[in-house]
Symmetry: C2
Subunit: 149 residues, 2 copies
């Protein structure tokens, strides 16, 4: 990561010296049309700040982990599953994903969904739902209609 | 802090369940027209995320500390001193304040300057410049003209 004190935004949510990365390794987990940019990952800082952008119609992975997410929506529109509830989200809304809550970010069909996400630099790996866990989640018809797997 | 998974933005950069606080105790250090909102301060997260807003013509304290700041500008316009350089900043620009760098955020005369700031939850207290340190900083006429003390 560049040590430049100021990295200006160049284009919408694209920055000098910040690489646009794949969300995850293709095939590692189910997701669709998501980019990842690591904005801050510094030795003295205990958290990282990343910017994710889900293209219209895309979604992140349905997953959970012990580490928490602290999210600020920055762009577009979409819906978020946290635990057992689905929420509409828009710019500057705050989303807290607590430990071991199932979560998934889904962009609107006609708008992207971009968000900042703060996480501990040292953290556990995400878990995917087992078929039993997925069946339990999808016992709620609203969640069954929402989740992308 | 509320445990609600989603806290919507209510008005511009104001949120449900987020209190608008003083930047610092009045008289504790020189500053002008700055508010502070703590967006995320959670037991399992090693960093806090705060939103500061400097009103037009206002400024944060000229200070330094061992802990770093990771900043994303969210609103308005202004200038930032980091170390020995002054930078213009606008929404979505990224600012990194490294350990022990003198820094100050100054809003434009006709626009506020709002920014997210990530810091370690456990951190040292800010230091104000001694008269000697201030004189050394102000040996640069651009910095002398910029700093508010």
């Amino acid at each position: 990561m560049s040590a430049a004190p100021v990295r200006p935004q160049l284009d919408a949510l694209r920055w000098r010296d910040v690489e646009v990365l794949s969300y995850k390794r293709e095939g590692a987990a189910p997701f669709r049309d998501v980019t990842r940019q690591v904005l801050f990952d510094l030795p003295g800082l205990a958290c990282q700040l990343r910017y994710f952008e889900v293209a219209p119609g895309g979604h992140t992975t349905l997953e959970r982990h012990v580490h928490a997410h602290a999210v600020v929506i920055e762009r577009g529109r979409g819906r978020v599953l946290v635990g057992d509830a689905i929420h509409d989200v828009a710019p500057h809304d705050l989303v807290h994903v607590p430990a071991l809550a199932w979560h998934q970010f889904v962009a609107a069909d006609d708008a992207p969904l971009g968000f900042l996400c703060m996480v501990n630099a040292e953290r556990d790996r995400p878990q995917l739902p087992t078929p039993e866990e997925l069946a339990r989640l999808c016992a709620d018809p609203a969640i069954a209609a929402f989740v992308r797997t």
